[in-house]
């Protein structure tokens, strides 16, 4: 290539305390190209994007735009340097009309209008409040706003997720033509179909490092998945559990049957069974509808269509209490959603006991104390700072959220990424606990963003992509490569040999 790069980043690093979010990321963007930025969850994509758009500062590395050093302290800086981003979530201020939103960002109105028409929205009234504009259209407006500024580099972060197909096509079409005028696009998407249709090259990140730059050509998906996984392919083979043991476990009765469930805009059509005595893993890239799935099962969101059956009876949840009454407990990934931070460990664990009107009277302190103590001991919660839950470590807080439902003897626990951001020891304890619960005949639905946890904890993995179940993998073959492929909507590897666990796995590493 003889053309000088439009944007060049080399050796970019970013640390949060002792944690390195980016170690050595590089990206070379040529004029007029659409460049995909790819990587598994936590690879550092969003950190790199934030650095480029001026949301955060990098600790190391060098970024140049048209050969000149580029330092963006704020998104406005980035914009002045010709770099504009469009995010997955709409960025219009809902209480202002569209035209005021444009003024706020000093966007020229006429080009904006043209782009909106170009993108397939002919009848937009600029005096409409942003909140009255449908979500999908809001995204299109965001894109039009970016296009109207005529930037050198456009950064599209999951821009097409949850756009209706016709609009997504239109968007891709416009972006493609835009690039032919010499402008460049950095495109972040989980959809290989779009990447194949739109992008020229892809940079792949893994663990905060750029591990490869590939030209987009037919069949390149395999190469990208390989790059995203790297050495993990080898590692994963070793963490397999005993297959025979697993098969024996997963034969309980159906506890929850989900059929054609549709929730909100993201969860399209999901069906699966959760059986007594199993831990079913849910695997999905960010924003594929997993949040909506858990919210619906927990009774916090009403499904738009489809059915949930509990123990063979159709269930309709109007409030989380309806799910709790069926013995279904939801442990959210964000601990601050589940805990009353200023209250004691005991009060937090005992919270469900007082929930029903009938139990508003005097508390039986002996009985409550015994139940709470049993749960604390079972989860080995460090109670030195038990007067206020907010004084506990993150791991201990997470244990409290689970202990609550052990004390309440819930039959089904919906765990949403329970090990995010907690220490390794606590993680292991949680794996062990979930397995024990399943062995006692309880059922657990376990969403995790760390794919290696599937083989450590689960009996099978339900993979959701684009709001639909794309595959249900038995645990024997649900290693990281297989899960990653499935999570990106790729078919199972045809030549792969399922099963045959290696010798080391016989020890049962799920319960260390």
């Amino acid at each position: 290539m003889t053309t000088a790069p439009l944007l060049e980043a080399t050796g970019v690093a970013k640390n949060y305390g002792a944690v390195a979010a980016l170690k050595n990321a590089s990206l070379t963007l040529l004029p007029g190209e659409v460049h995909a930025l790819m990587g598994a969850n936590g690879a550092g994509k969003s950190t790199l994007v934030k650095i480029l758009t001026g949301a955060i500062r990098n600790d190391g590395g060098r970024i140049t735009v048209r050969g000149r050093p580029y330092v963006a302290r704020t998104p406005a800086d980035a914009r002045r340097s010709g770099l504009v981003s469009v995010y997955q979530e709409p960025s219009l201020i809902p209480d202002l009309d569209v035209i005021s939103n444009l003024r706020l960002t000093q966007t020229p109105v006429e080009p904006f209008r043209e782009w909106v028409r170009e993108l397939g929205v002919p009848d937009l009234d600029l005096r409409d409040l942003a909140r009255d504009v449908p979500l999908a259209i809001q995204r299109v407006l965001d894109l039009a706003r970016a296009l109207a500024i005529a930037p050198d580099v456009m950064l599209l972060d999951e821009m097409t997720a949850a756009l209706p197909a016709n609009l997504a096509e239109r968007v891709i079409d416009v972006v493609k033509r835009q690039s032919q005028t010499g402008r460049s696009v950095i495109f972040i998407s989980h959809r290989f179909v779009e990447i194949a249709a739109l992008c020229d090259r892809a940079t792949v990140l893994r663990d905060g490092e750029t591990v490869g730059v590939v030209d987009i050509a037919p069949g390149v998906e395999e190469r990208i998945v390989e790059l995203m996984l790297g050495a993990k392919i080898e590692k994963a083979r070793r963490t397999r559990r005993d297959a025979g043991e697993t098969a024996a476990r997963a034969q309980g009765d159906t506890r929850i049957a989900v059929r054609n469930l549709r929730v909100g805009t993201k969860l399209q059509d999901v069906s699966f069974d959760l059986r007594n005595g199993e831990v079913a893993g849910v695997v999905a890239l960010e924003g594929q509808g997993q949040d909506e799935l858990f919210a619906a099962l927990a009774g916090s969101t009403r499904p738009a269509a489809g059915t949930i059956e509990v123990d063979g009876r159709a269930a309709r949840f109007a409030h989380p209490v309806d799910a709790v009454r069926e013995g279904i407990a939801y442990v959210p990934g964000d601990r601050s959603e589940a805990l009353a931070m200023k209250q004691s460990v005991r009060e937090n664990i005992a919270l469900p006991f007082s929930a029903a009107f009938a139990s508003w009277g005097p508390i039986n302190r002996r009985r409550e104390g015994a139940k709470v103590q049993a749960a604390i001991e079972r989860l080995q919660i460090d109670t030195r700072a038990q007067r206020e839950v907010q004084r506990l470590s993150g791991g201990n807080q997470q244990k409290v959220t689970i202990a609550r439902w052990i004390a309440a003897d819930a039959r089904t626990i919906l765990c949403f990424d329970p090990t995010r951001g907690i220490d390794v020891r606590t993680k292991r304890e949680i794996y062990k606990l979930l397995r024990e619960l399943a062995d006692q005949g309880k059922s657990i639905l376990f969403y995790t963003s760390e794919l290696e946890e599937i083989q450590l904890v689960c009996d099978r993995a339900i993979v959701i992509f684009g709001g639909k179940v794309v595959d249900i993998l038995p645990v024997e073959i649900a290693d990281e490569p297989a899960l990653t492929r499935a999570a990106y909507g790729l078919p199972r590897e045809t030549g792969a040999e399922p099963g045959i666990p290696t010798g080391g796995a016989q020890q049962g590493e799920a319960a260390p």
Binding site: P320, A338, L339, A340, L351, A355, W360, G361, R404
Partner: protein
């Protein structure tokens, strides 16, 4: 001392004191109350005697009862500004209905508006999610209006405060105010509810993190409805006691106590954002305000200056207290 202090040597003394204060937030309040009494004693030796104490307690009790309403509602992050109107209505109705009816009937009638306003507050805040400040202010204004209409219908018949209430409000038995006969059980009940019942636990939890309680199966509106009815009835009972103390019904009888009742709860360490506090602190807060009032009275300052000082001290105490007990 030196031996026990050396054990956790890594924790600095200041931080340990803070943690102690955070764990026992009542200690600084008791210290402050004693300090104020001491200042009073120094400024006017001999004033602090049994009669003065009985009198101070007598006037602190109605304030403490209204502050009980604020404590309960503030635990959920709410507030009840209608308590003044509710108490006034109860007082006015019991005095006017007491002319023709037996005291028990008059008292029962007097608590009806309290129930209605509490119910309206509970529905507004719990079901329609109106901000408690607005909701209770609204019902309070409506209540005052209704009271004015009611006043015209009874203007000819005059007023008679039931003797029992006068005895309860002003009487002393062996030097102790009779009002304690009402207050001690009520205070015990409030503290019991807060510490030892499922309902009390939910008040704290709802104020701390409503989403979390929802996921735990708590229905918010039920808690809030019960809470505001309880608060309103408590305010009505306070109105009955207060008319026994003041003896002259008026259309704004308890209104001047509303904001001090909020102040008493806040000084007592109940967080206006919810989830933290308790009635014991509020009682101390009410006593502190009562002593402060005497203190400012004997300073023989003009009314304006007294109010300025009162406001400034309330602000100062609250700010200082929150700094002391917040453990970060």
């Amino acid at each position: 001392m030196s031996i026990s202090a050396s054990a956790p040597a890594s924790v600095p003394a200041g931080r340990r004191i803070r943690r102690f204060m955070s764990d026992y937030p009542l200690v600084p309040l008791v210290v402050l109350l004693l300090l104020l009494v001491l200042v009073l004693h120094i400024l006017q030796p001999g004033i602090v005697n049994q009669r003065w104490i009985a009198n101070t307690v007598k006037f602190a009790i109605p304030l403490a009862l209204l502050a009980g309403c604020q404590t309960m509602t503030m635990l959920t992050g709410g507030i009840d500004l209608s308590v003044g109107t509710v108490a006034t209505m109860a007082a006015f109705i019991v005095a006017t209905q007491g002319v023709d009816n037996p005291p028990a009937v008059a008292m029962a009638l007097a608590l009806i508006p309290a129930l209605l306003i509490g119910f309206a507050n509970g529905i507004g805040v719990g079901v329609f999610r109106v901000h408690p400040l607005i909701m209770t202010l609204g019902t309070s204004l409506i209540g005052v209006g209704c009271l004015q209409v009611y006043q015209r219908t009874v203007i000819a018949s005059g007023a008679k405060v039931p003797e029992f209430l006068t005895w309860l409000g002003t009487g002393l038995t062996w030097g102790f105010p009779n009002a304690l006969l009402l207050f001690i059980p009520v205070a015990a009940l409030l503290i019991f509810i807060q510490r030892r019942t499922g309902f009390g636990r939910l008040l704290y939890a709802v104020g701390d993190n409503e989403r979390a309680t929802r996921l735990a199966g708590v229905k918010y509106w039920q808690v809030i409805l019960a809470l505001y009815i309880f608060s309103s009835v408590l305010a009505g009972i306070m109105g009955l006691l207060y008319i026994g103390l003041i003896k002259a019904p008026s259309l704004s009888l308890a209104e001047p106590l509303v904001l001090p009742s909020v102040a008493a709860a806040v000084i007592g360490g109940t967080s206006i954002f919810g989830g933290r506090g308790g009635y014991t602190g509020t009682i101390l807060g009410a006593l502190i305000l009562a002593v402060l009032t005497t203190l400012l009275t004997i300073l023989q300052m003009p009314e304006g200056a007294r109010r300025i000082l009162f406001g400034a001290i309330v602000l100062l105490v609250t700010a200082a207290y929150l700094r002391i007990i917040e453990d970060r």
